[in-house]
């Protein structure tokens, strides 16, 4: 049994603790790192991003420099030595490129495509979603019907059609992914903006004669960010896997800029002849990337959702 004095002291300690955690961001950070799995996923994700950004300095060879590639080294198993004596830790592919280096460069393309398309789609989707929720009426009807139509088609089908029209290339696939994804963001933002816009602080801002644009982006948008961040991470993961799928099917990226998906496709031909590593290792890298992004996204959802407050 605790005495009354102890209870009061505990209460005071708890208050001091909340007092110490000052900004919303600090509270958010503390609850995010409460989960070990999510912390590990975040560390993995950060190292993957680091490797992708500094690919030129980290990878043992430049797989696209033809001077460094020799056909004599093709299809070597993991750990084998090259003709000149350097080791290929994860083996080589059909053209004799070091698989580890190819994966690091491929990761850069995969992450770059996913993040770029995610950010642009988020900006476009968030703007349309906010406008729909804030102005309502006809504007809202038009925007949301377009979103409904867009979301009623499978993403992969829309992307395939778009790429058939646009052709190959990194820029083309980013455009296709943006067009496929913006509707998810628009719908998410509209949902939370509809709740927020009826709160009294928006009325107060109207009453203070603050302009529409400022109310939209300074008052409404920051309060719609939590679900947007969650959808953003999860959608980035699905953009990466969608890009990998498209590349695997051969409609995504050109062979000169292989992503992880294209590397998997390249190794697929040798799969049945026992040379598993050419597809296997890029596949594992893709898996780790997507799983870690999803784990971070799930934890973000748990932390930012007020209804799941523990």
């Amino acid at each position: 049994m605790k005495t009354v004095a102890e209870n009061i002291a505990l209460g005071a300690a708890a208050r001091d603790k909340t007092e110490a955690v000052e900004t919303p961001f600090e509270r958010f950070r503390a609850s995010f790192f409460a989960s070990k799995v999510a912390s590990v996923a975040l560390v993995v994700l950060c190292s993957l991003i680091f490797v992708a950004v500094f690919a030129g300095f980290i990878s043992p060879t430049n797989p696209y420099d033809l001077a460094q590639v020799s056909v004599l080294d093709s299809k070597l198993p993991p750990g084998a030595k090259s003709f000149e004596g350097t080791a290929f830790w994860l083996g080589t592919d059909g053209a004799g490129r070091d698989l580890l280096s190819a994966m690091i460069y491929g990761l850069r393309i995969s992450l770059g495509v996913g993040v770029m398309s995610g950010i642009v789609a988020m900006i476009i989707g968030a703007a349309f979603g906010l406008i729909a929720a804030y102005f309502g009426g006809r504007t809202e009807n038009i925007i949301m019907r377009i979103v409904d139509i867009q979301l009623s088609f499978p993403a992969i089908l829309v992307a395939l059609i778009l790429l058939a029209i646009l052709g190959k290339g990194v820029d083309k696939i980013i455009i296709a992914l943006i067009i496929v994804q913006w509707a998810y963001y628009a719908r998410t933002v509209r949902g939370s903006a509809l709740v927020e816009r009826n709160k009294e602080y928006i009325e107060a801002a109207t009453c203070l004669a603050i302009g529409h644009r400022r109310i939209l982006f300074r008052h409404l948008l920051p309060n719609c960010m939590p679900p947007l961040i969650v959808v953003g991470t999860l959608q980035t993961a699905s953009a990466i896997s969608l890009e990998a799928t498209l590349s695997f099917l051969g409609v995504g990226l050109p062979v000169s800029e292989p992503s992880l998906g294209l590397l998997i496709a390249n190794g697929f031909d040798y799969m049945l002849s026992g040379k598993y590593w050419i597809s296997f290792f890029p596949g594992v890298a893709l898996l780790i990337t997507i799983v870690s992004i999803n784990l971070v996204g799930d934890q973000l959802r748990d932390v930012l959702n007020p209804r799941l407050e523990r």
Partner: protein
């Protein structure tokens, strides 16, 4: 009657209807003979009154009677369906853009919910100071001094300027809301149930704050409340609303001494008083009718103890029954 010249705010035949439009499915069902129809709520129905400079007017009514809608129209948050609001003798719709903005700033609103009315992602400094920087009452350099002054005026320490709303109690948050309104130097405050969400002990403090501010800053108030005892304490004049219409207007003392309208009498019987201990309180009999389908004639007739045949047919007009007193009841004609 007061003359419109010195009236600070004049509301004339102000009406607000909320229409729930039929969607596609509804329209098709209607074509096929279903009795689905567009639903119209007459939230505010031809309301007229004036408020003089320096006056505190209490607006009282049960929930759903349209008093918040009326307050929001006056504060410029909701556009009226019909009728006009004049501020200092000029119609809102007849104002130039600058005049309109000046009037919008001069009329500020204090909200009911101290938790929903502050943006949770902004610091107190931004909440209070944002509008006054935009409208040139202060600049970014002097903002924190300006905001600090406002905070001290409403009884908050200026050291809390960097905090977020969630770090304050309900009463303190309501003070932030008041400081936010004061920061744009208003002349007229619409207080929409501004103390209803607070503890009783805090309510008294906030009422006293309103009274002090009125004296210091020469403010005029429209004090919306469902609670007559609060209104009695703070207002000079009381307006009673029932289902979107004004039923009685009178100076506070006279209204509490000699209520005219049966609805006012019924409301007053519910106010707890020290000299009437031990009385069993009976709520006004019957439910407030649905504003979707209000009763014909006098809206109050289904609940009125003095109902006559005339009440069920003819809408009573708001007429002067004594100097400064208006009432809408057929009983006054007898």
């Amino acid at each position: 009657m007061m003359t419109p010249q010195n009236a600070m705010l004049e509301v004339k035949d102000l009406t607000k209807n909320f229409v729930k439009r039929l969607d596609m499915a509804g329209k098709i069902a209607q074509r096929l003979g279903s009795n689905i129809r567009e639903e119209t709520v007459h939230a505010v129905d031809s309301v007229s009154f004036t408020i003089e400079k320096g006056e505190v007017v209490g607006l009282v009514g049960e929930s759903g009677c349209g008093k918040s809608t009326l307050g929001r129209m006056i504060a410029g948050i909701l556009p009226p369906t019909a009728g006009g609001i004049s501020f200092k003798g000029v119609e809102f719709t007849a104002m130039t853009q600058e005049e309109g903005e000046a009037a919008a700033l001069a009329i500020q609103m204090i909200f009911q919910d101290p938790f929903a009315s502050l943006n949770p992602r902004m610091r107190v400094e931004d909440i209070i100071g944002e509008a006054s920087v935009i409208h040139g009452m202060t600049d970014l350099k002097e903002r924190s001094d300006y905001v600090g002054d406002m905070m001290e005026r409403v009884g908050l320490g200026r050291e809390y300027i960097r905090r977020y709303p969630h770090q304050f109690s309900g009463g303190q948050r309501q003070r932030i809301g008041i400081a936010r309104a004061l920061a744009v130097q208003p002349e007229f405050l619409v207080c929409d149930e501004a103390i209803a969400a607070l503890d009783v002990s805090i309510q008294a403090q906030v009422i006293n704050l309103f009274m002090d501010l009125r004296e210091d800053l020469d403010l005029t108030y429209l004090f919306i409340s469902h609670d007559l005892s609060v209104v009695e304490h703070i207002s000079d004049r009381v307006v009673i609303m029932y289902l979107g219409r004004i039923v009685e207007t009178a100076p506070t003392d006279e209204l509490f001494d000699k209520p005219n309208h049966p609805y006012t009498t019924a409301l007053l019987n519910e106010v707890p008083r020290l000299d009437q201990r031990g009385i069993e309180y009976e709520p006004v009999s019957g439910e407030i009718p649905s504003p979707l389908d209000p009763p014909p004639g006098c809206h109050f007739h289904p609940r009125c103890p003095h109902v006559t045949d005339r009440c069920t047919i003819e809408v009573p007009v708001l007429r002067e029954i004594a100097p400064g007193r208006l009432s809408a009841c057929h009983l006054n004609d007898q």
